[in-house]
């Protein structure tokens, strides 16, 4: 089910909120589980089955790993979700790269025939992190299965994060399971959902339409190619930002606070800074469970490249994604090497350069390496600066989105301490939800749902 759907907004959300806030306190987690499993299994039962199996596996081995405290147990615990992730997500890619024939593919027919479960990369990482934290003693093993299931399957963050840690949620889940009174800030919740829906349906999806206008095959100019890439840069940002903001708002409605996943990433001063602002929970996951464990700063260059190759692979099973990850890794290393020079750049120039580097990498998300190279070559050929696919209206829209991204500080209007006037108006927020509802039929699936 999608947040940007009538089914979710008019049926699912009001029903689950009503039930959640009216049932006996002890039944709340069960309601969350049932609602979340319905939310996830609505499209297909196979992914749901593997989600539940992953939680059962983590639950059982979490208890065993404390009793026996063997590396083998935690290894097994982590292996299952990652194996599920591999089978559904990377098997096809792996078989293609080893040149597997039809007979080999027939053996794996089941996994190849099931469409990629939405959000599998997100929940697999949550489950794996829980198992490692239990083994490391960060968290005690959870004995309440429903609570663990509620943590992993919590629908606001199940499909596209933020990737929560168990120690961030465990206390909150205990609270909602024990106290009648929940300190829900409905105003904040509605506000976040409103801006998120508007950002997705009106901004990200308009950008998506601008991206698809562009067609390299039918002849284009440098400026066309650049505007297409720029449109995607705003599309993916607003798409993922919107999801995360909606998730925070929805979490608030259930009395559960989800962590921030973005911190104005396009205002980053360099590529290292970018990864401290973009998809924060993935960055910290990889830092804690991968980068530090393979040696951290001791072999900085090698480990950075390994981590970013993993970042690329996490986003998709394809060489284009791996190259995208390495592209980011390369620029992080460039910054690390030339930090003394880069840091002397004026702030606006550092932001612009970082944004340009990030933007020129995004087409690898939707283009294979060949077409990607063609687009980049077209942009930098500067051969033709006329517009074939875009006109003044598109440039105006991109200008407005740029102003939003680069000039409007979220601390002033979203995470604001003081009232932001019209931007805090319930009438405006209701209007934004209504406008989003009127256009959801044209809305696209969140990009990060396939990760």
């Amino acid at each position: 089910m999608l947040f940007n759907s009538i089914e979710f907004l008019i049926i699912f959300l009001p029903v689950i909120l009503f039930v959640y806030h009216t049932v006996p306190v002890r039944a709340r987690l069960l309601v969350l589980c049932i609602g979340s499993l319905y939310f996830y299994g609505r499209a297909d039962w196979v992914p749901l089955l593997f989600l539940v199996l992953s939680v059962i596996w983590a639950y059982g081995l979490g208890i065993l790993s404390v009793r026996f405290h063997r590396g083998l147990v935690v290894g097994l615990a982590v292996t299952f979700p990652l194996l599920v992730l591999f089978l559904f997500r990377y098997l096809d890619f792996a078989l293609t790269n080893i040149g597997a024939g039809d007979s080999t593919r027939d053996v794996f027919y089941f996994f190849l025939s099931v469409s990629l479960p939405a959000g599998i990369s997100f929940y697999s990482f949550q489950v794996a992190a829980y198992s490692i934290d239990v083994y490391d003693g960060v968290d005690p093993p959870e004995r309440n299965f429903i609570k663990l299931l509620a943590f992993v399957s919590f629908f606001p963050q199940l499909i596209a994060g933020p990737i929560m840690r168990y120690d961030q949620m465990s206390g909150q889940l205990d609270h909602v399971n024990a106290h009648r009174s929940l300190d829900v800030d409905w105003a904040k919740a509605f506000k976040f959902v409103s801006f998120g829906l508007f950002g997705k349906v009106v901004v990200a999806d308009v950008c998506a339409g601008m991206v698809t206008r562009f067609d390299l095959a039918t002849g284009t100019s440098s400026l066309d190619a650049f505007l297409s890439v720029l449109s995607y840069s705003f599309q993916i940002y607003f798409d993922f930002w919107a999801y995360s903001v909606i998730a925070i708002g929805l979490g608030e409605m259930f009395g559960l606070r989800l962590v921030k996943n973005f911190n104005e990433p396009y205002r980053a001063l360099n590529m290292r800074d970018f990864w401290r602002r973009w998809h924060l929970t993935l960055s910290s996951w990889l830092r804690d469970y991968f980068y530090i464990r393979i040696g951290g700063n001791r072999r900085y260059y090698r480990n950075i490249l390994l981590v970013f190759a993993a970042v690329g692979l996490w986003h998709g099973a394809g060489w284009n994604f791996i190259i995208w990850g390495l592209y980011h890794g390369f620029w992080v290393l460039v910054y690390a090497t030339g930090k003394a020079y880069w840091d002397r750049l004026p702030g606006w120039l550092a932001i612009a350069l970082t944004f340009l580097i990030v933007t020129l990498g995004w087409p690898l998300f939707y283009l294979d390496i060949g077409p990607y190279s063609d687009v980049i070559i077209t942009i930098f050929s500067f051969s033709d600066l006329s517009l074939h696919f875009y006109d003044f209206r598109h440039i105006l829209l991109l200008g407005i989105f740029s102003a939003w991204v680069f000039m409007a500080r979220e601390s002033n209007w979203l995470y604001n301490h003081r009232l932001a006037g019209i931007l805090d108006s319930p009438v405006l927020h209701a209007g934004m939800v209504f406008v989003a509802m009127m256009f959801v039929n044209w809305s696209k699936t969140f990009i990060y749902f396939r990760f």
């Binding site: 009538i6 904040k188 509605f190 009127m438």
Partner: protein, 404 residues
């Protein structure tokens, strides 16, 4: 610490405003004109070249015209084609029949396989099935990734699908049917919350349809060089044309006079049920891309598909001499091998389960650009090939009015 807007009255003001705004689409839905009940839309009165211009009506309203026509038909067509919109421009003359003998019943809106079953069952219970041959169009597997064979698409009016509830044989059938009915109801809800439908419901009054001689009109705009003002062109993309006509921004004669507005005539419905579709004729089709052919079917779906196919076969043929044929058209793909796609394999498995079904499989005709108006919709050239094969199988030979 985040400080939210004033909490005391915020929620009340938010919910009150949202509630008031949501009344608009509800009122619009209640005012929406039902063309299924409108006997004035009598296709039998249409002369050659004439059609009901339906731009500015919703997709559902266009479907209402077709289903309403069949429900009221005094003279049944000899041959009818049913299925999703992929063949909406299949004309009587393409298969060598006259307009009275053939009805393209495609697209109540865009029915999936179980909905085609329900639709045909509905027509059978009314005694309105074509009298000699029913052609069932199976959406190409690669198109929509196969989901069209097992799920509903909210295409039929609720009463049509609900009327077929008796076809469910087991509790699993009922479970699936109930879920599909819930989906259909959800589709209806989606149609309510849609700004274009809200505008049509609030501002149009059923006047979206009119009879026009499309052939003459097309001849006009082929020669017309004038372009509409840019603002009008943008407006026609955003606001339903029926509203623009009603507001006096657009005149119906503009449909023919502005070359770039010829899209206004799209989906106009002719006597034989086909729908006019112009713009893509002007450009060569683009091939189907590999990325478009994901799989949305799973283990065991071939059984479900086979059961729907069998039910359709029995609905059409039981108790009469009426014949049926299923066919699978191609989509335009420039490269092979498309048959390795899993959706195709599952389709093959379903057909193998039902060897008695007469099936024409044209998936392998995927390379001929002249058969496609775009990557998935066919030209007359394709339907002529189909007709030839129907004749070879003796399926059209019994049709009395056959001219070919």
């Amino acid at each position: 610490m985040i400080t939210s807007p004033p909490r005391k009255t915020y929620s009340i003001r938010f919910l009150l405003t949202l509630g008031l705004l949501m009344l608009l689409p509800l009122v619009a839905a209640m005012r929406m004109y039902d063309f299924r009940q409108d006997a004035a839309l009598d296709m039998e009165q249409l002369k050659p070249g004439e059609a009901f211009v339906s731009m500015g009506a919703t997709q559902r309203q266009r479907g209402q015209v077709k289903i309403g026509h069949l429900e009221r038909a005094q003279t049944l067509p000899l041959v009818g084609a049913f299925g999703p919109h992929q063949i909406f421009n299949m004309a009587a003359e393409d298969i060598g029949l006259d307009a009275e003998s053939f009805f393209n019943g495609t697209a109540t809106t865009n029915p999936n396989l179980p909905e085609i079953r329900d639709y045909l069952y509905h027509l059978k219970t009314l005694g309105k099935l074509p009298s000699e041959l029913v052609i069932v169009h199976l959406f190409t597997p690669a198109n929509k990734w196969g989901r069209q064979y097992i799920e509903y698409n909210g295409a039929n009016p609720l009463d049509v699908s609900w009327g077929a509830a008796g076809l469910n044989e087991s509790w699993t059938d009922w479970l699936s049917f109930s879920a599909n009915m819930a989906d259909t109801a959800m589709q209806k809800l989606k149609e309510i919350f849609n700004y274009q439908n809200v505008l049509i419901g609030l501002l149009a009054d059923g006047g979206g349809f009119q009879v026009m001689n499309i052939d003459a009109c097309v001849a006009g705009f082929e020669q017309a060089a004038s372009r509409p003002p840019a603002a009008l062109w943008v407006l026609t993309k955003i606001v339903p044309t029926s509203i623009l006509v009603r507001l006096g921004v657009l005149n119906t004669k503009d449909y023919c006079s502005f070359r770039t507005l010829h899209g206004m005539l799209d989906y106009s419905i002719f006597r034989d049920g086909r729908q006019f579709y112009a713009p893509f004729y002007l450009e060569p089709p683009k091939p189907f891309q590999d990325a478009d052919t994901k799989n949305r079917l799973q283990f065991g779906d071939d059984k479900k598909m086979a059961r729907y196919l069998d039910q359709i076969y029995r609905i059409v043929t039981d108790g009469s001499d009426r014949k049926i044929v299923f066919y699978i058209p191609p989509v335009y793909r420039a490269e092979e091998p498309y048959r390795r796609k899993i959706v195709d394999q599952i389709m093959d498995a379903a057909l193998e389960r039902m060897p008695r079904l007469p099936v024409i499989d044209h998936r392998s005709l995927n390379l001929s650009a002249e058969m496609f108006v775009d990557r998935m919709h066919m030209t007359s050239a394709y339907f002529e090939i189909l007709a030839k094969e129907l004749r070879q199988k003796g399926l059209l030979s019994s049709v009395r009015n056959e001219q070919g």
